[in-house]
């Protein structure tokens, strides 16, 4: 029972922490709870489907189908986070202002929320499919009773959910002035970490070169599988011995998201500046 609890906890932890961050990051967006529930539900259903299709997926691309599937899932998740961060760069100020007024929420966030729901679903899917496979394997292995296995699974799930909730509560205590900067930075690093994992999958499948393996190794200082290492792995993609290509993906993702965010924000400011003189000239043209 303890064994299954631990494994399910580890799988749940990642999804729970991410959902905790996302739930906080979308505070003040109208209808977010519903979208988060939709995301989790789709993720759970998807987990069972992917688990059932494991054999089929595994057979693709000469035995590397799983890596390519995971890489695709990770890529979509990274794009969704990028989308969210860019959206926040133009709506963050509005959200922070409105969050002070209880009950008022930003209404035009539906498209943003569907991106968030996809992100949540994919996160749950990645970890959920592994959990389903593991529990199914234990059930067929029949060394442990079904009851003890399910109890262990439920305990692990509960443990993960508690950590995710703590993450959410902790984030919500951050003063509003810094709030969206903190959640935005967390999501940026999360995206970079996912991107680095995507590189790892593609290297494992031999689709891209590893460049240098490892670029450095600090596993004697902080091993990836230690408690701190695992949490940092989930949050910022920490790895004690990453390959050169992973670091390239990590840094590249940060550069692209930060660059796009700055570009979008500048464009919007320019538009606002242009609108003002334009309105004046239209006005004068009308009077002459």
């Amino acid at each position: 029972m303890f064994g299954s609890a631990l494994i399910i906890f580890r799988e749940t932890l990642e999804a729970a922490l991410v959902i905790g961050i996302i739930a906080a990051a979308t505070r003040g967006v109208s209808g977010r709870t519903l979208w988060l529930i939709i995301g989790v539900t789709c993720g759970v259903i998807g987990s069972f489907i992917v688990a059932a299709l494991t054999d089929t997926i595994a057979d693709f691309a000469e035995g590397s189908g799983q890596e390519l599937f995971n890489a695709a899932v990770l890529a979509i998740a990274v794009v969704m986070i990028a989308w969210h961060n860019i959206w926040m760069s133009t709506h963050g100020a509005e959200l922070a202002r409105d969050a002070k007024r209880i009950g008022s929420e930003v209404k035009d966030g539906q498209r943003e929320l569907s991106a968030i729901a996809i992100l949540v679903a994919l996160t749950v899917l990645r970890e959920g499919a592994e959990s389903v496979l593991f529990l199914h394997g234990m059930a067929t292995g029949s060394e442990t009773s079904l009851m003890s296995m399910l109890t262990g699974g439920a305990l692990g799930l509960l443990g993960g959910a508690i950590v995710g909730t703590l993450m959410f509560i902790g984030l919500m205590r951050i003063p509003l002035r810094w709030f969206f900067s903190v959640t935005g930075t967390l999501l940026l690093l999360l995206a970079a970490g996912l991107s680095s994992q995507m590189a790892k999958m593609l290297i494992q499948a031999d689709w891209i070169p590893a460049l240098v393996t490892p670029l450095w190794d600090i596993s004697s200082v902080l091993p990836t599988n230690s408690v701190t290492g695992s949490i940092l792995h989930v949050l910022i993609g920490y790895e004690a011995s990453p390959s050169g290509m992973q670091i390239l993906f990590y840094a590249g993702t940060i550069a692209v998201i930060v660059g796009l965010t700055a570009l979008v924000r500048r464009n919007q400011q320019q538009q606002q500046q242009q609108q003002t003189p334009q309105a004046k000239s239209e006005l004068s043209a009308g009077t002459s």
Partner: protein, 107 residues
Amino acid sequence: MKLRHWICALALSPALAFAADNEITITIKDHKFSPAEVRVPVGKKVKLIIDNQDASPEEFESHELNREKIIPAKSKGVVYIGPLKAGKYPFVGEFNQATARGVVIAE
């Protein structure tokens, strides 16, 4: 038939730890890896074929090698590793960590 030839050679002689084209098959049976000690050349990319003969899935995992992959029941999976520096790189079957343990030795 080259592959089968090599698998036979591997099964017969654990000393013959890697094939000419750096392809190594590791079998999982009764939640144990065989061979549990895999020798690979330093600085070369190696193709690991993990053959899970058990009725339950297994996750090949190694933080040292920076690899993780689920191998469904009764099926094979491919994991590319390296080029590695000389050293020991332990791996486990995450779903059966008590028994499924092994190590890649790059030399």
